[in-house]
Amino acid sequence: MTSCRSKTNGRLPDISFANPQAVAKSTDELSGFAHEVRPGISRLELVVPDMHCAGCIGRIERALNGHSAVTEARVNMSTRRVAVQWRSAAAEPAEFVDLLQTAGYASHPFAEREDAAEADRKRSRELVLAMAVAGFAAGNIMLLSVSVWSGASDATRDLFHWLSALIALPAIAFSGRVFFRSAWTALSARSLNMDVPISLAVILAGAMSLYETIGHGDVAYFDAAVMLLFFLLVGRYLDHRTRARARDAVSQLVSLTARTAAFKLPDGSLTPRAIAELAAGDIISVAPDESLPVDGVVVSGTSDIDRSMLTGESMPETASAGTRVHEGTTNLSATLDIRVEACGGETLLASIIATMEAAEQHKAHYVRLADAAARIYAPAVHITALATFIGWMLVGGGDWHTALLAAIAVLIITCPCALGLAVPVVQVVASGALFQAGIMAKSGDAMERLAAIDTAVFDKTGTLTLGRPHLTGPAALDVEHLGLAAGLAAGSRHPLSRAVTAMAAQRGVSPTPLDAVEEVPGSGLLGHRGNQTVRLGSRAWCGEAPGDGNSLENETPSDDGRLELCLKVGDSRMVVLRFEDEPRPDAVQTLAALKQRSLKVEILSGDRPGAVEHMARLLGIKRRQSAVDPVAKARYLQKLAGGGAKVLMVGDGINDAPALAAGYTSMAPSTAADVGRMAADFVFFGDNLSAVATAHTIARRAKALVLQNFGIAAAYNVIAIPFAVLGYASPLVAAIAMSTSSIIVSCNAMRLRIGIPHSGRDTASGAEPRQPAASARPSDRSAA
């Protein structure tokens, strides 16, 4: 709860940097997502990934309701979205994104594919309605059945049977459609699925009971048929909900990649133009903090380029006229004019995505546990029922009535109530536990695959490390110097500047205001206090002779992976600030925990060997590879898979995307590049790497519980089938057996929660003030 408040601490005043051009662009983009609900009233859904507590709900709704044009703002915590309605004429959608940004929340519009979402909602509504009707019918029929079982006879029993029929038959016709349709589809394709025995059992039981009722018989299975439908629909609905949630999660991850670029007209003025319409040779202008929409060559301007997403390289590189730059990297310090060389399908990013898709296709098709079980189970049920029928025909000398009753009893008893619930209930509980630990699973089978891994391969920059350097020394850095450095750094987007500002905020040092601050990309910052000049940057920038053994470029880290920045105030001696790209706070423990579970742990990085060595030593990992390009990463994972290994790939960059797709399963932090998050099966929030271990624990437990549930369902059948085959399965026995097994299976699934850290997400953000995604990685801010 309180951790939420820290969100606004230590933030750079981002808003002040928003240049008019960027705002114009996002307004343009955002309008596409808003739509009119009523004449004059527009509606827009914004995804706010960082909301996680009651305080957030209040703050977000208050922030938006504070806008005079807003008629309604409602947070949906389950989907992490906020729906805003406003008087269309009185506001532009971009204003809401800015409002949320001011309140400390990064957001981007929610783009749902209308048709898919609509189909999803329709299916969900159908299932819930069917479930409600079946539940209602089951309850009422049970009421009547209890009277029959407790001794109602003759006319009373007939009356009750008729009443049951009146309720049951329409309920079966209505609620059973879900199963009938699917069974019919399977049969027309000449195959069997779980729905075939279910449909058969329900229809035969209904028809047989009606026949019995007409003939004043004493057994009717209306209650069993409807209850069967009810339990199965519960399982079906839970399964659907888990999948819908996963799909939702995926669509939320698609944040906006730049769709328009600032096109430079011959007269030097800028106009927005769709990326698709750009051609090689066009000149575009890229403002600071924007991600590059194309591959090209810098024509004019000098700026630092953050290439970490593309290469894994942790420090920015300086780009000036003539430098080749690539789509997917982020411009940090100054506006660049770029001549387009390739865009759309021809960029380096596009070729990496193509590799990723190729890797995905090579992946062996995974058979879900539930489907595997159904494949064995469905034929077994049919054979048993048929054998029962034939057996009774032979024994009873052609008494088809008794034989059919026994066969129906077998169908009903064996019908996979518990089996239908075994997997969905566990998955609902497991994905709930994952969600609370700040982990989003994109599918249920990803969880099953995660439980089976034997190797974990980690990327370095942004995955094992936070991907942002941290000021580590000198330890005795005094308040005055830190204040001055922070004063200079406040306006810069360079990772080292951000580290300085973050440290100042953490130590409670307020930045010293300086006059005429200017940034020279590739060199450093310059400002004035009174008549003193303050410099922050490379040794050369601070006036140290270039020949003293240190490189001219401040970005070049020394070999142990350390980075430095010099601060010179007036003529006094300069102070050298040291930085490190820190490992995530619990990286050591997490890797140790994974090793303890006898998983092989490896590092596969695109960064320089020095930096990788340093990190591997720090974390105690023996198997490591550095300077690996994206394609080689994917190839390495395929090689491991070829050797029979089941690999979990954890990575964040664009360069990891092919490897993420090639892994048996994969995981990415929420700060990852869009492509990386799309390729990964799991996405975790927060700074803690322990999410990997937690996810693995939950997945393994979920698998154990699913297997146990299968065991329970099987044991139940082993006990119940002989009764049914021998004809002892009265409606009462069927009802009791069915509900107990379902309840046992559900209760067993709940055990998953025991001993799992309940609020990993909150502790994660509490331990380290979690900043909005915006300040974590510049490229996340594409929508702002």
């Binding site: 305080g55 389950s78 009422n140």
Partner: protein, 49 residues
């Protein structure tokens, strides 16, 4: 027997009422945000803001 003529319709009516109430709550979106509902109880209403 005559009791039943009253009791059964009464039972069905009450059950039906429950069904209708459920369908209504479903349609009016009360199950859309279960996590949020649990948290909203902690949000302080600040009147007059």
């Amino acid at each position: 027997m005559t009791n039943l003529l009253i009791l059964i319709p009464a039972a069905l009516f009450l059950g039906g009422l429950g069904l209708i109430a459920f369908v209504w709550s479903l349609r009016s979106g009360q199950y859309e945000d279960l996590d949020g509902a649990a948290m909203r109880i902690l949000v302080d209403e600040e009147d007059g803001e």
